[in-house]
Amino acid sequence: MRNDVRELRAAKGLSQQALGQALGVSRQTINAIEQGRYDPSLPLAIRMARYFGRAVEEVFHVDDEDR
């Protein structure tokens, strides 16, 4: 699943560490999400989207191969 977390985080001028602290997860988890190695749970995805003031589907994009 693709996502725009890296771009949204950069636009806010946040480090992975700072975003992780704001969302209550580790820096490595933010990195894994940004690289597409880890798909967050629905609660975490919603928290991330709300943090950036977006809808979940505006932050996370389902690829055809994800279906």
Partner: protein
């Protein structure tokens, strides 16, 4: 809707594994000393204390060490720990089954290996039933 464990509980948990290592170090030393083996007592305690020191010193630099220490678990770290536990258990089950067959081929009772397989199989069945009803 929290997906992480934070605050006082998380802080206490961070020291649980290092604390257990220190307790095991003391237990190893006491048991070996009670059997008159001071060298084994020293080595056993030193290994456990060194492991505890590695967990405390390197858990901020290495995520793998942080996971071994259960430091600041979030949902991804919980998943990693769960998968690592499942992998470990799979290896132990395969080893135990192999040892049961080896014992049977040798014509002796499976002993602790049989108990381990029995308890493991029963636990798996109960866990499947419990979790299938819970989720």
């Amino acid at each position: 809707m929290s997906t992480t464990r934070t605050g006082e509980t998380g802080s206490r948990r961070r020291w649980l594994i290092p604390g257990l290592c220190v307790a095991f170090a003391a237990a190893y030393a006491a048991v070996f000393l009670a059997h008159g083996r001071p060298l084994a007592a020293t080595i056993g305690a030193a290994v456990m204390l060194a492991y505890a020191a590695v967990l405390v010193v390197f858990s901020r630099r290495s995520e793998a060490v942080a996971l071994l220490r259960e430091d600041g678990r979030d949902e991804r770290r919980a998943m990693i720990t769960g998968r690592a536990s499942a992998t470990t258990l799979s290896v132990l089950v395969v080893l135990s089954l192999a040892m049961v067959f080896v014992q049977l081929v040798r014509g002796v009772e499976p002993g602790p290996w049989g108990v381990f397989c029995g308890v493991g199989g029963l636990t798996f069945i109960v866990a499947i039933v419990y979790h299938s009803r819970r989720y």
